[in-house]
Symmetry: D2
Subunit: 278 residues, 4 copies
C-alpha cells in the first residue's frame, strides 16, 4: 500500500484487519501479517496532521483492486504529490521483453513526489530550465525535499537476489528524468515477481529462474519503465489547489510538446492524453 | 516504541498525533515525523487480532516516560512475550566503561520473544536441556518462531557508523544465551547515542567522537549488556495465562539457582529479585 | 589503485611492498595494510592473461603521483577501456560548491569500461542511436559486459555515512549518460573526504561536519561530476588497436558536435580538446 | 583461498594464472576470473613483510586439494594464527541434518585469529578466566586485534538469499566461544552450496530449494559447527615459536579437560586428539 507520511500506521493495521475479516489463519493455526506500506509526504497540499485517511478508505482500496490499466495522476497516495515543482502523482509504465522464446513484462509504478524544477529533463531535453519555477508555483520550495516510491513488478521467474538487482536499477530511471535524491529523500525501491507462486515456504520446491546472463533486457526495461512512469505521473496529474490555498500547477502539455519539438523530439500526444482511463 | 506485531500502525500514528498535540512544526514550518516502532508477536498469549492497543495507551506511555530504573518482565510490549519457551518480556542491563579519564554507559533493552528451550544457556550453563519443555508448557511450540528486539543506548560520543557497529554486536549477546535466530525471527537491533545533541542537521557542526581503537570496551559491554538483559527478562517475567487459556510458566528461580550452583556458578539471587522495582 | 581485472593482486601487494620500503611501522610497532585496488576488464584490447603489470609499474605510479590536473583517456588502468562501444578510459571532472561562506570541491574520477552503443546519451541527446555501432567496431560486442569504477573525492567535512550517500549518487550520474549496469557489471562507487585528517583512530576527536540539510548541492554536484567524467573519458580517449588486432575507435568529435548542435545544444569544443594536458 | 594479510595479492593472481594454465576460456571466448581470497593477520609469528608466500605455494595448494578430512591447526593460512591468546589456526566441523526424508551436511571451516584470553569460553565454561594470559604469552597483546574467517559449506539446495542467512549465523557461533569482534576485527563470513551445480548463468534453469520454514535445523547446525570449529582450531594447534622468537603456546589439553570436568562437563578427549589426521 502507498499512502502519505502520517497515515502509514492506519493503512498498515487496516490491511491486517481486512485480512482478519476476510481470511483465515494459515493451516498451522498461526496467523500474523507484516504488510508493506510505503509513504511520501503530501503536507504541502494535504492537511496531513488532520489524519483524514481512515480504515474504510483502505478497505475500499483493497475491495476495488483489479487487473488492467491503472489510474494515474491525482489518485490514491499520489493525490497530493509534487514532482519537480509541478503537480505530481501516480505514474506507471511497462515493457514487454522477449528472452529466448518467451515474453515477460516489466512494469513500474511510481508515487512521484521528488525533484527540483531546474533539474527536470524529459527525453533528455532540459525541460526544467525552460519552464522555470518562478512563474508557476506558490510558494517556491526552497529545495529538494520530497521522495519517490518505485515499485517494479514482473512475471519473469527471478530469484530474490535477481529482483534486488532490478530494484537497484530503479534509481537509474529516476536519474534519467533529473532526480538526484536530495537530502530529504527517502526514496524506496521494491521489486517482486508473480512467478513461482506459493513456493519456498513450508516444503522443498522446484523454482524456475532465468540465467543471470539473460537479465540485461530486464535491467534495461526497468530503467526505461521507471523513466516513463515518472513522465506519465507528470502528464496525468492535474493542477490542484490544496490546503492553505496552496496551488500546484500541472505541467503544461502544449508548452512541453513545443519544447520537445524544438529539441528534435517527435512529440505526438502521449496515449495518456488521447485515451483517458475510464 | 515497542509493541506487538499487529499494533505497529496504531502506535506509530499515535506518536505523530501526540507530537502534533504537544509540539509545533520545526522553525521552517515544515512538519513531519517518521517514528520508529518495532514489534514482536504475542499472539499466543494475546488476542492479537482483537486490536486492543489504542492511541490512549500510547499517549499514556509517552506521558509517563521517565528516567531511572525501567520496569522489566510482563510490561508494555513485553507483556505477552515467550522466551525459550518460558515466559519472557522486557529486560534491561547496562555497563559503565571507562575510556581514558571518562566514563560512559552502554545500556541494552530487550523485548525477548525468541528461542527454543533446549538451546537456552545462562552463564554458559545448558539450563534449557536441564529444564526440559515437556513439563512446563502448553502447547509445545513446534519450533523457533519468535523474535527479539534489542535497543542499545549510550552516552558515548559515537558517529553513526560506530553506532552501527554496536548494533551488530547485539547479535553476539543474543547468541550467548542460546538464541540462533530461527527462520521466523525478525530480530531487530538498533543503537543510538545521546551525545552531540541537536547537531548535524541544518548547519555545520563540530562533533565529538571516540577513536575507533578505543571502541573495544564499548563493543564488549554491548555483548554483555544484551546477554544480561535477556536473562533479566526471563527472571523478571511472571507466569501468565493468556488468551485461549494458554499458560506460559516463568522460569523457576530456585531450580535455576540449583542448576547454576551444580555447574560451578555463584548463584546468589539476582538484584532483580531482592530489589523489586516500585 | 585502479587496474585491470587480472592484475589486482600484483598491484595490491606492490602497494604494501612500496610502503614497507618507504615507511615504518606505526608507533605501536604494529604494521599492516589493506590497500584498496579496483578493477575493470580490458581483455578485449589487452593480453590480460599475459600478466604484464609488474610491481615496478606500481612503484612508478606511486612515485609519480602528484597534485594538479589528471591525465585522461588511454592512461593507467584506463588504457584498455571500452565505453558504449567507443574507446573509453579515465575521465575526471569536478564542481566547486558554496555552502554558507565556504567553498568545497566535489571531484569524480572514472575508469569507464561500460555501456552499449545504443543507450549512449550526451547532454541528454541520444548520441548512441545516431552513431550506430555497426560502422565503427570490430567485433561487435554481443551485450553490455563491462563495468565502471567511480571515485568521488571532496574536501567537504563529511562523516562516513554522508560520504556513503555521495557514493550512492554516483550511479545517478552514470544513468544520465545511458549506463544501465548490465548483468556483467561490477560497478564500484567509492567516496572519501580529505577533511578531518588524522582523526578518529587512537583518541577522542573533534570532527567537523556539514549538516545533512546542507548536502543537496554536494549530492547534485556528485551527479554532475560523474556525468561529465564519463563524457570526458570518451572525449579524451584515442582510437586504439590492441591485442589480436582488435581496433576500437574513439568517438568522432566533429560528428558528435554536429549531432549536439542539431539537437539544440551549444556544442563548442570541450576544454579537454582546446587545452590538452601537458 | 585463505592466506595472510599481506599475501592476498599474490594468491589471487596465482589462482588466475593457474586457471589460465589449466583451463580454457569459456565457450564464448570470454575469459575472466574474480577469485575469492580472504586474509587474517599473522605478523606476530610470521615475517609478514618478507612476502614469503609465492605463486608456487598457491599452485601446490590447488594441485593437492582433495576431498575427505581437512588438516587442522598450524596449516595453510592458519599457520601463524593466534586465537584468544593461545595458538590458533584452521579448524573445521560439520553437522548432518535430516529434513523430511533427506540428509544434508552443514560444514564450517575457520581460520581463527581472534579473541582475548579473558573472554574465551568452551562449552559455556569460562575457560579463559581460569587459564589467565599472564602465565602463557610473550608479549601480552594489548587488546583484541585479530579476525576470523568463517566459511560455511553445504549440499543443501539453498538460494543465495538463504545462504546469506546461514552466513549471518556464523557470528552466533563465534559469540558462543567468547568472540566479540573487537575494533580491529575484519571478520568475514561466506557461505556456499554445492547443490544446483552449473545453473543460473546462460539459460533458464530449474533450481531446487528448501522451504524457508525448513531452515531452522540448518541455521542451528551452522551455529554449532562454527562453535566447534573454533574449539577444534584451538585443540589442533601446536605451540609455535615464530619470527623475533615470539612464542605462542597451544592450549593445554589436560588443564582444559580438568577445568571442563570441574564445571560439570563430560570431558573425554576430543576425536581430534585420539584420531590424528594422517
Amino acid at each position: 500500500m502507498l499512502t502519505n507520511t502520517h497515515s502509514v500506521g492506519v493503512v498498515r493495521d487496516a490491511v491486517i484487519a481486512w485480512r482478519v475479516r476476510k481470511g483465515k489463519p494459515d493451516p498451522t493455526g498461526y496467523f500474523w501479517s507484516l504488510p508493506v506500506v510505503a509513504e511520501t509526504y503530501d503536507g504541502d497540499l494535504n492537511d496531513i496532521n488532520g489524519f483524514h485517511v481512515l480504515p474504510r478508505h483502505v478497505y475500499g482500496a483493497l475491495e476495488r483492486a483489479h487487473g488492467g490499466p491503472i489510474a494515474e495522476g491525482n489518485v490514491g497516495g499520489g493525490t497530493g504529490m509534487i514532482c519537480h515543482d509541478f503537480k505530481g502523482g501516480t505514474g506507471t509504465s511497462s515493457r514487454v521483453v522477449t528472452i529466448g522464446t518467451e515474453s515477460f513484462t516489466i512494469a513500474a509504478l511510481v508515487q512521484a513526489n521528488h525533484g527540483v524544477r531546474e533539474e527536470l529533463r524529459i527525453s533528455g531535453v532540459p525541460v526544467g530550465k525552460l519552464m522555470p519555477l518562478s512563474a508557476t508555483a506558490t510558494p517556491a520550495p526552497p529545495k529538494e525535499q520530497g521522495s519517490i516510491i518505485i515499485v517494479i513488478a514482473t512475471d519473469a521467474p527471478l530469484l530474490p537476489m535477481q529482483l534486488e538487482r532490478l530494484a537497484r536499477r530503479a534509481a537509474l530511471g529516476l536519474a534519467r528524468t533529473g532526480g538526484y535524491s536530495g537530502n530529504g529523500s527517502g526514496d524506496l525501491f521494491v521489486a517482486f515477481s508473480t512467478a513461482n507462486p506459493g513456493t519456498g515456504q513450508a516444503a522443498p520446491a522446484t523454482v524456475r529462474m532465468l540465467g543471470n546472463e539473460q537479465l540485461d533486457p530486464l535491467l534495461l526495461a526497468t530503467v526505461q519503465a521507471v523513466e516513463e512512469s515518472i513522465v506519465n505521473a507528470l502528464i496525468a496529474a492535474e493542477t490542484m489547489t490544496g490546503v492553505n490555498d496552496t496551488r500546484v500547477p500541472a505541467i503544461d502539455h502544449q508548452e512541453l510538446q513545443r519544447i520537445l519539438r524544438e529539441y528534435g523530439r517527435n512529440a505526438s500526444p502521449p496515449a495518456a492524453l488521447t485515451q483517458p482511463l475510464p
